[in-house]
């Protein structure tokens, strides 16, 4: 199913970021079915899962480092591909339920097998990914193909043995968590107790036990009695990485609510509300839309929250609710284009964001296949481009710069007006410990790796 293109090896580069490889998904008949809709490393970083609009999940595995090849330090290759969700039809609403994978979350590995949760708009599934490299041989009552032998031919007994065979990756559905969401599931998050997880849709958050599929507990419900009064929706939610009683959810009004499940079973009342007062000087018709939080992520330490809204990325300290600790402008040059972006719906794009392993750098996507990184300590930031043209394998990524219309333009700068708004990087992921990042640019997945110096990226 999946074709992987290995590019020739270039010369040694001294740079900070090299492109390891580009995976190109085979074009499929359905247009756009191969557009990547989520990217997620597992807890060790050994596996990387992507989900796409066509309901398919592709898992990449990092090759073990080989000593003969100097530069093959763990390239990612396709490990397994499977169809996670199929399109369905909601007969009550007469609406199609897309098969698009909205989110993938890995469960911490507890045995040889890997488990992951994948969700589309309505249904969450638990998948087991396991390897098999041996097969039993020499059964007494059935032959190699599994057919029952004619008993009359069995004249002697033998002990079946396991014989090695080519490695096979098996993916099997283990649980189906359905019918708990009326609205679109936007987030799933596995709890640090490893037993429960939550799923959030536009108006509710449900808590599930991983082994129980026929019931879930509603822990947040912001649906008003009268839908006419609805002015706010949940946009993302995540569990605290260490405290299993804490979780956070973000809203379309730009707020974050930290909830403590110890306080009440139904967390309609938050423990903390993180909100930045609106700056009256930059108020506009679009203030609310651009303040809508598109993604929220706890730092690995659990101390900070990273949020993304349309124009900025913000780091919040759990101990300070009044304003973000840091605010990073992702593409402020779009501030003058908001009406057009509203008109063409780009303003509703949901950019995600990611922490690096040490919580010192954050990364988020932008338009024109650009993505941005911000070093929290040095305050340096960089714009990089994920494109086949600009990044040859092992080539160093050159920083890009966007200049506002009319501004002084340096060589290689790109003007705001020539940005391609159809090429957007919404989904990014950072290896949990190393400086390896995965960037989903429409139907291409780019994996970049820090080369020698790890100062910035």
């Amino acid at each position: 199913m999946c074709s992987v293109f290995h590019h020739g090896r270039g010369s040694v580069q001294r740079a900070s970021i090299c492109r390891l490889k580009e995976k190109i998904k085979e074009d499929r008949e359905t247009e756009g079915a191969d557009i990547i809709s989520t990217v997620e490393f597992n807890h060790t970083g050994e596996l990387l899962a992507t989900g796409d609009k066509g309901g398919r999940v592709v898992i990449f595995q990092r090759e073990p480092e080989s000593k003969n090849e100097l530069f093959s330090q763990g390239e990612y290759n396709v490990y397994s591909t499977f169809q996670s969700h199929e399109p369905e039809f909601d007969y009550l609403k007469s609406l199609e339920i897309e098969e698009k994978i909205n989110k993938i979350r890995w469960l911490p590995q507890q045995n040889a097998a890997h488990f992951l949760l994948s969700t589309n708009d309505k249904t969450i599934k638990l998948w087991k990914v396991s390897e098999r490299d041996k097969r039993p041989e020499g059964y007494n009552l059935k032959d190699e193909e599994g057919r029952i032998k004619d008993l009359s031919t069995v004249t002697s007994l033998q002990v079946p043995v396991l014989k090695p065979m080519d490695l096979m990756v098996e993916v099997s559905p283990r649980r189906l968590f359905a019918n708990a969401h009326t609205y679109h599931v936007n987030s799933i998050s596995v709890n640090s107790d490893y037993q429960t997880y939550m799923s959030a849709d536009d108006l509710r958050i449900n808590l599930w036990h991983l082994d129980i599929t026929d019931r879930s507990f509603n822990i947040v419900d912001i649906k008003p009695v009268n839908m006419e009064d609805l002015t706010e929706v949940i946009t993302a939610a995540e569990f605290h990485p260490h405290h299993c009683n804490l979780f956070v959810y973000s809203s379309s009004k730009g707020t974050l609510r930290l909830c403590d499940m110890r306080e009440a079973a139904l967390c309609d009342k938050h423990s903390k509300l993180f909100e930045e007062p609106e700056d009256p000087s930059s108020r506009s018709f679009f203030s609310e839309i651009i303040s809508s939080v598109s993604d929220v992520k706890f730092s690995h330490s659990g101390r900070y929250l990273l949020t993304r809204d349309y124009l900025t990325a913000k780091v919040w300290d759990l101990n300070m609710e009044s304003k973000p600790l840091e605010t990073y402008q992702v593409h402020d040059y779009l501030r003058s284009k908001l009406c057009s972006l509203y008109e063409n719906d780009c303003i509703f794009d949901k950019f995600e964001c990611a922490w690096n392993g040490s919580d010192s750098v954050i990364m988020t996507g932008a338009y024109n296949n650009f993505f941005r990184m911000f070093d929290r300590n040095t305050k340096r930031d960089v714009t990089l481009e994920a494109s086949r043209e600009s990044s040859k394998p092992r080539a160093v990524l050159k920083p890009r710069r966007v200049c506002a219309a009319g501004g002084k333009r340096r060589k290689d700068d790109i003007s705001v007006d020539s940005l391609d708004f159809t090429k957007k990087i919404l989904h990014t992921a950072w290896h949990p410990t190393e400086n390896i990042i995965a960037i989903a640019a429409t139907n291409n997945l780019y994996i970049f790796q820090d080369k020698l110096n790890s100062e910035m990226h």
Partner: protein, 397 residues
């Protein structure tokens, strides 16, 4: 464009752009910003309102639309609606392009101290440019998106960034049209953001007309002012006066002439294009379907019925039940976009066909004889009154 580049002092970003705009405006005419900003603010608001309505009604195939998107759009509409309620009028929103002469918004503008001066100036000069203004009026009543001027500072809620935020028309486009003296050769407008295919309502082509058309009359001294926002409201005022004044002799008004002619040329080109495109697209459709048609329900091409929208988007029913549905029953708001789109498309396609000669020809007509102008505008005037009536029935105001 050149003027912009030349004047720019900050090299970085939109701050620079904005600063420069203010600078230009401030330098050109100190009275301008305040007045125009108010106008541009309402224009922005109207535009956004219209876009929002269309977004809610545009059908998406099969899949359930995003609740977040709808809530955000709905909030936007509510906010604008609240503002309007406070201002005590829904009308201008519903009928942005061609409000009746007694449009309350105009009164609102007159409240602005600076505007009193300006409108007085307009009336004083109207006898001459009136015909021109009328001819300008005809083509523009354009789209349901009166484009707002790119850079006039917004008042009230929008102190600094709003005007830029809400600028639909690429600033460069407006500037090229308005500030570039060679703009008698119409060039197809380029959309601002290399918009995705799904983008709708390319109304830019229409927008320069009102802006370029009115501003020179009001602020002849500085060419750079031409890129300063237009004010349909002002145009309206002028147009209202026009009815009686258009036939009066036109005394030469030297300082104005060059500006008027450029403005006029611009305007005419738009008009010519609009007419041509319309005649191509729908030859049998008579004047009512002319440039002003975007606001005339009866002559609109078969629009998807609002009720259809509502029933199809069941959740919208629930979501927006608190908004006066009569707004949604008003076709122009929802359908005019489509019309504008086709008209815009037509413009773009046909624009190469309009030669400078034609433009010049049309340019001379207002001077030589106002009669044809009046006659061509007649249907439009009828539309205005009809619309007024329809609006009264629909809105009950």
């Amino acid at each position: 464009m050149f003027s912009k580049g030349a004047k720019r002092k900050l090299d970085e970003d939109e701050e620079g752009l904005e600063g420069k705009t203010l600078e230009v405006m401030g330098g050109g005419s100190p009275l301008v910003p305040e007045c125009l900003s108010k106008v541009s603010y309402t224009l922005q608001r109207q535009t956004i309102f219209n876009i929002s309505l269309m977004k809610l009604y545009s059908q998406r195939p099969l899949g359930e639309p995003s609740l977040e998107r709808r809530v955000l759009i709905n909030n936007m509409l509510r906010r604008i609606q609240d503002e309007l309620k406070q201002e005590g009028s829904l009308r201008p929103l519903l009928l942005p392009p061609s409000p009746p002469p007694d449009d309350p918004m105009d009164e609102g503008f007159r409240d602005a101290p600076s505007f009193g001066v300006l409108s007085a100036a307009v009336t004083a000069q109207v006898s001459q440019p009136s015909a021109l203004l009328m001819s300008m009026m005809a083509p523009p009543p354009p789209s349901p998106h009166p484009m707002m001027p790119p850079h006039s500072p917004a008042p009230q809620a929008f102190p600094s960034r709003a005007p830029l935020d809400s600028c639909l028309t690429p600033a460069s486009l407006l500037e090229e049209d308005a500030a570039d003296s060679a703009f008698c050769v119409p060039s197809p407008p380029t959309p601002p953001l290399s918009p995705p295919p799904s983008q709708s309502l390319p109304s830019p082509p229409l927008s320069p007309a009102p802006s370029a058309g009115t501003v020179p009359v009001l602020f002849p001294p500085s060419l750079s002012d031409m890129e300063v926002g237009p004010s349909p409201a002002i145009t309206r005022t002028a147009a209202a006066n026009t009815t009686t004044m258009s036939t009066s002799p036109a005394p030469p008004h030297n300082p104005l002439t060059p500006f008027l002619s450029t403005a006029l040329r611009d305007c005419r080109s738009t008009a010519a294009k609009a007419e041509e495109s319309l005649s191509c697209e729908a030859p049998p459709t008579p004047p009512p379907a002319g440039p002003g048609d975007t606001s005339v329900p009866p002559s609109c091409p078969p629009p998807p019925s609002p009720s259809g929208f509502l029933s199809d988007l069941a959740l919208d029913d629930v979501l927006f039940a608190d908004i006066d549905t009569s707004m949604y029953d008003f076709d122009p708001c929802t359908t005019a976009g489509g019309v504008a789109m086709t008209a815009g498309g037509g413009l773009t396609k046909l624009s190469p066909g309009v030669t400078p000669d034609e433009l010049l020809k049309s340019l001379t007509s207002p001077y030589s004889g106002p009669a044809p102008q009046v006659s061509t505008n007649q249907p439009f005037k009828i539309d205005l009154t009809e619309l007024d009536h329809i609006m009264e029935v629909l809105v009950g105001s």
